[in-house]
Amino acid sequence: MTPALALTGMFVVPLVQAILVVLLPRPPGLRDVLHIGLSLLTAGLAVYLLNTVAHGVPVRVVFAQPLPNVDLAFSAEPLGALVAVVIAGLSVLHAAHTTGFVRATGEKAASGLMAFNALAAAAAMAVAYSSNLFTMFVAYQALALVASPLAARRDDEDAGRSVRTFLATILAPSMGLFLPAMVWTYTIAGTAEFQAGGILAGRGLDEGTANVLLVLFVVGLAMSAMPPFYQWLSATSGATYPSLVSIQALAVLPAGGLAVLKIAAFVFGSELNDAKLAAHALVAIAGVGMCIAALIALSKQDLRERLAYSCMAQALAVVMGALLALSAGLFAAALQIVATMCAATTLMMAAGTTAAVTGRRNAADYPGLGRVMPWTFAGFAVASASMIGMPPFAGAWAKVWLIIAAATPGAGLIWAAVLIGVAAVLTFAHLGPLAAAALAARAPTDAFKRPDGASILLATPVIVGAAATLWLLVLADPLASFLSPVWTPHP
């Protein structure tokens, strides 16, 4: 197999997967095997590509040339390859969990759910592998469109409103802000191709232009949950858990953070220093937004809403790291994306398992459930600790690097470091007691809606996800050296 073929397969296999699970809904066993098996194949391809990148082999595939000098092209570079392998790996767990969830709850149109989950993961990986601004824009829009049916999967009558808000708050900023920024960048740089060190660096950009461009890009990427366009996140929080995993943990929200990171690293690079005014303002908005999101999460009783705001707080930390204009900040942001994906996916799957087998969705109903579902809530606790940033869990590394980057003399943003700390404390407040009460309180007598409890398909992905969160703990150094080309300009 050639790397180019593997890269093409990253999009073809999920597409085939989506088609097959829709065409072969019965018997459910065959559909489930196809769903999990093809997810596994995609993950294998992602690992192969990661290995290829680690050996310094360039990979680039051009699908079309819709504009002169602008290709619809994908390439594997360290940052994209890393995030893609995490998305693909977690997608396997998500696929297994979804099959368990739909069996436990008797979910309607399960094939559609699986298909759109696969497509959303593929679109998120397309963002990761995008070779230029145009391709990233296309993948971003495609992700919004394929994720919208997931936003519509809810128990109440608000599906239409949810989809409207989701599409409007994601597509409108991307059309109104990101698109002009992209064309403007193209006219300035004469290229839209991503490049380590930034395609705008060394173009003699004046500070005003750099500041305006940065605001257009960052605010236009609403998937990062950057205020003021974050309403899509709360609007979709009523969706079913497998949909929420894709929207908040695995595809949409991480893709937004990754897009901001790629813009900071590959479009601006050192030019971020000329956009300090906008960068600092955006860091302040993200920092305050983090704290407010964590505070709102504390006020929410419905676990889906609480986790939505919790994930938003984590996503905004990525934006902060990306805009610090430092290598340490970029690394912290990359690590934050990976750690948050692992932790948030585990949390969502654990909450989904709980909802499927106990019917409990409110935080007040969680105490003692860990006594009857020990594996699920062990995973829940590990993931919560990582989200909080408690050492020695993976999220701690990201937070530490973020605080170091903000407080170093190069950035000099002590207040930003303080905001990160405050947000971590607030995250502890809305996740810590919940996990502790679930594990420590007395077990409820009528815990299970289903007499046989959680199936292996519901429990295992949570445990493996938690294990991945723990495994990341030892990967910080290798990841730093693997990602170093991202912030090292080509000679």
Binding site: P66, R164, L167, A168, G176, L179, P180
Partner: protein, 486 residues
């Protein structure tokens, strides 16, 4: 010998692009059976489209010298060839799609098809005219023909007459303005030939500019540019699907191409070029903003299409107003996008059997192919990536930034933003709502009408993915016409 005939036919392609549809229209009107008339009309439209596309290919891609002359007041240049190809392709697809709605016209169906073909011939005459007389005659004949199709829809819906009356009123105003403008121009530049427009400004530039402005406004009325489009919503909504398709793909496209030809000469003149650009850009900007606001609040799909045409037409005017080859190129790409979007939206709705927005609820499940067509049209109107609409917007923004017209870029972005709302609303209704019982139980229409809509949807995406041929043609047209004007 056959080769000799083909060479002869190709040499007279401009004449044939008008004569063939007129001849077939006469034949169609004589046939009693609607189905047979439809087959004959489709064949005639296909022949015309092949002639026009071949002519455009030779001029735009093959490097054939433009400005071929015919003795009846025809003079082909790059924009004319491009426009004739688009008008004839639009007419072809509209006639094919009309197969689904022939019953609306009853026994008058052959006459409606004949009138549609006549409209195609007349608007091709506008874009191929060598002088102002040809332009005037073509525009008036084309306008009356389309109004005739709208009036014929009154056989099913009396409100169609209202649309036809509004068209006649607007056409009267347009004709008066055009005549006045031609009179002023003719006396100012000492001739009625379009080719002398670029050079003979020196005598009375103010009077000539006024004449040019009046002709432009007259054509803008025909193109349904907001706020001069009072006739359009009701004509689209109550004139039936065939009339809507003809207005969008033949009349609007023809009028916009005619306007582009005219302005290409005007902007090249140092005396009035700046003023022409400014006036046109203000009109284009107003059309985008007014059309967008109306499209967001539209209550039916065909009304939405009418407003979307105003938005797209405004963007085309903005591209033309830039006066640069890049601006013209953006305009021609958007013209193609306009035709594809209108065909996909109205054709899809006709095939699905409903026009009100409520009829679209849950259509994704009931009529997936029609829904795909409508979705492609909506995405193109939004300017979603990998669609022809995106390509047009990108080229327009790039061209605007290239000459420092930031506000034009902002207006183009506003058009896309509005498109997200009205296009997104269509997609939401198609896929995320449940159909009411009455709508869900409605009978399926004849599916053949879906073919043009699907073809347009495929074209909207395929040309967004691989637009090299279209871009090359648009680039050739813009450079040839501007180069000649200079």
């Amino acid at each position: 010998m056959i080769e000799g005939y083909i060479v002869l036919l190709r040499a007279h392609a401009p004449l044939l692009a008008i004569a063939v549809p007129l001849a077939v229209a006469a034949l169609t009107a004589l046939i009693a059976s609607p189905r047979v008339a439809w087959v004959v009309a489709s064949f005639g439209a296909l022949t015309t489209a092949m002639i026009a596309v071949d002519m455009a290919g030779r001029i735009l891609l093959g490097g054939t010298q433009p400005l071929m002359q015919e003795g009846v007041g025809l003079g082909v240049d790059a924009v004319g060839a491009f426009g004739a190809a688009i008008v004839s392709l639009g007419a072809l697809l509209a006639v094919i799609a009309a197969g689904a709605t022939l019953k609306d016209f009853g026994k008058a169906a052959p006459f409606a098809l004949a009138t549609g073909l006549a409209a195609s011939a007349a608007w091709s005459g506008v874009v191929l005219a060598r002088d102002f007389v040809g332009l005037f005659v073509g525009a008036q004949a084309g306008w009356l023909a389309v109004a005739g199709v709208v009036a014929l829809a009154a056989l099913r819906d009396r409100a169609g007459l209202n649309g036809a009356l509004r068209m006649l009123s607007a056409g009267g105003v347009s004709a008066a303005l055009m005549l006045l403008g031609i009179g002023l121009l003719a006396t100012s530049i000492n001739g009625v030939e379009l080719s002398v427009l670029a050079t003979n400004w020196h005598g009375a530039p103010i009077s000539a500019a006024t004449g040019l402005a009046l002709i432009s406004i007259a054509l803008a009325i025909c193109a349904a540019i907001a706020p001069l489009h009072a006739w359009a919503p009701i004509s689209y909504a109550r004139g039936g699907a065939f009339a809507g398709l003809l207005i969008g793909t033949v009349a609007s496209a023809g009028a916009l191409c005619g306007l582009a030809r005219l302005i290409a000469f005007g902007v090249a003149s140092p005396e009035v070029g700046g003023g022409v650009s400014l006036a046109l850009s203000v009109l284009g900007g107003a059309s985008v903003l007014v059309g967008s606001a109306q499209a967001v609040g539209a209550a039916s799909l065909r009304r939405l299409a009418a407003y979307a045409v105003a938005v797209q037409g405004g963007c085309i005017l903005l591209g033309i107003a830039l006066g640069s080859p890049a601006g013209f190129e953006a305009a021609f790409v958007q013209l193609f996008g306009l035709v594809a979007s209108v065909l996909a939206l109205i054709g899809g709705a006709a095939a699905a059997g409903g026009d009100t927005l409520g009829a679209l609820d849950g259509l994704g499940r009931r009529a997936p192919l029609a829904s795909v067509a409508i979705t492609a049209g909506a995405l193109s109107l939004m300017g979603a990536p990998l669609s022809i609409g995106f390509l047009g917007r990108w080229r327009l923004i790039e061209a605007a930034l290239g000459v420092g017209w930031w506000w034009v870029a902002a207006v183009a972005i506003a058009a896309s933003l509005a498109g997200v709302f009205y296009g997104g609303r269509l997609i939401e209704r198609l896929y995320f709502r449940r159909a009411s019982t009455a709508v869900a139980a409605s009978r399926d229409p004849w599916r053949f009408a879906l073919a043009p809509a699907l073809l347009s949807a495929i074209a909207a995406v395929a040309l967004g993915l691989q637009p090299i041929v279209l871009l090359h043609a648009a680039e050739s047209a813009s450079q040839l016409v501007l180069g000649r004007a200079e």
